[in-house]
Amino acid sequence: MTTVRDTSEASAIYHFTVNGEPREAAVPGMRRLLDVLREDLGLTGTKEGCGEGECGACTVIVDDLVVDSCLVPVCQVEGADIRTVEGLSDAEARALSPLQQAFLERGGAQCGICTPGMLMAAQAYLDDGGPANEADIREAIAGNLCRCTGYTKIIDAIEAAAIARDEAIEDDESEDEDEE
C-alpha cells in the first residue's frame, strides 16, 4: 500500500464502492464521509443530526460495520465498501427490502429523519445474524436516536424482519434439501 498524502491545495483522489458501484472523490482527506456522500455524490439519504456521533442519523455501513459517517474522514475509507440507505431497496425491481417493508407496515418511521440511519443499523444487525430478540435489537440501535416513535414500532419492525430472514433461510435450506 502506498502512502496517501494531500494538502489543502491538492486533494488526493479517494476510491471506494458505494452500494456496489465504484465511486471516487477528489477532495481533502479530512473531509467527512457524510459530506462526500451528501454533497459530492448527491446521496442525500444519509442525514446530519448532530455532527458529533451522538444521534446516528448519519449511520452508514463501511466494510460490514456500522459507523457514524460524520466522524469518518474520507482518507480512511480508501478501498472500502460503503452501503447507504439508497442501496437497501432493489433498484431493478424497484421494491422495498424486507426490512423497509416491515418498517412501512408496522409504523417504524414517523418523521423519517432518523430512518435512514436506523435502517442501516438494523440491516447490519440482520446481516450479522442478529436474533429476533428485543434486548439485542435495542442494543443494536442504541446509537440511533429517535424522538418520534418511542422505539416501540422500530423494534417490532426489526424483529419481524429477523423472523422473516430466518424463515427465508429455512425455506432456502429446505429447498436445498429437496434438491439433494
Binding site: D6, E54, P73, Q76
Partner: protein, 281 residues
Amino acid sequence: MLEPPVVSPASLSEALSLRASGGYRPIAGGTDLMVQLAADVAEPDAVLDLSRLAELKGVSTDGYEVTIGALTTYTELRHSPVISARLRALAEAAATIGAAQIQNRGTIGGNICNASPAGDTLPVLLAVDAQFDLASVRGERTVQAREFWTGYRQLALTDDELLLRVRFAVDRTRHTRFRKVGTRAAQAISKVVIALSYRSDGGVWRDVRVALGSVAPTPIRATATEAALEGTRPGEAVADQAAQVLAGEIQPIDDVRSSAVYRRSVSARVLHRLLREEGGW
C-alpha cells in the same frame, strides 16, 4: 481549521518520521478528534492518519502477557477471545462506550491518548498495571499506565512519539471488576467509572488496585483505599471502612454531567457493592 491536510502513511517508520517532523496530530478511529475539529476545539496544522499501520493492530498473547495493538477497536476488544479469557473487565468497559457505531471505530490507543478523565478503559488499564509501548525515531520505550497521565489531558508521550501497544501480565489469580455509572444506558460519558482488581491468595486479597475515572483531572489509583483492602478478607466491616476511605480520598468536582457530592457518594457505594459481590457476603 475544518479540513486540515492529512497524510496516511503505509508504514510505521514513515509515520514516525512524519511525527518527528512536527505539527502532526494523530488520528486513529476519529471518534474524539473529529468531534474536536467540528467544534473548533482542535486546530492542528496537519493530521497523521494512523489507520493503515498494520503494526498497531491485533490482540495476542504468549501466555505471559497480553498485547493489544493501539488501533484495536472496542468492538474487537469485545469479540476477542484473548480479552474475554484474560481481562473480561476490559471488554465490559468497551461495551459501555457509545454504541455500535462508536465501538466499531474508537480504539484503545485513542482512549488512552485522548486522556479524558472519563475514559472508560483507563481505570481497567490502571488496575492491571498495564504497560504502554511508545515509539519515535529515537527508539522504543515503555511507560507504566500509572505514570502516563500526568495532568488534565496531559500525557507522558512526547510530541514525536506514538503509542504502539498496550501490554498487561497474564495472571490467573487476579480478579478484575468494572462498573460505570452514566446518565443513561448507552451513549453516556461516565459520571463515575471504577475498576477493582486483586489477587486472591487463599481468600486473602493481595496487590489490590482501585482505579477510578471522572473523579479527578486524570484517571487515578485510590492508594489509601487500596491500603485499606490490602491483606484483608473483605467482609462487611472492611467494606464499610474501605468505602469511607474512598469517599475521603477523592476530590471530584461539579460539572455539566454531575456533582461532586454525587460522585463522592456513588464511588463509595459502588465500591462497597463490588466488594460485597466479590466477597460473596
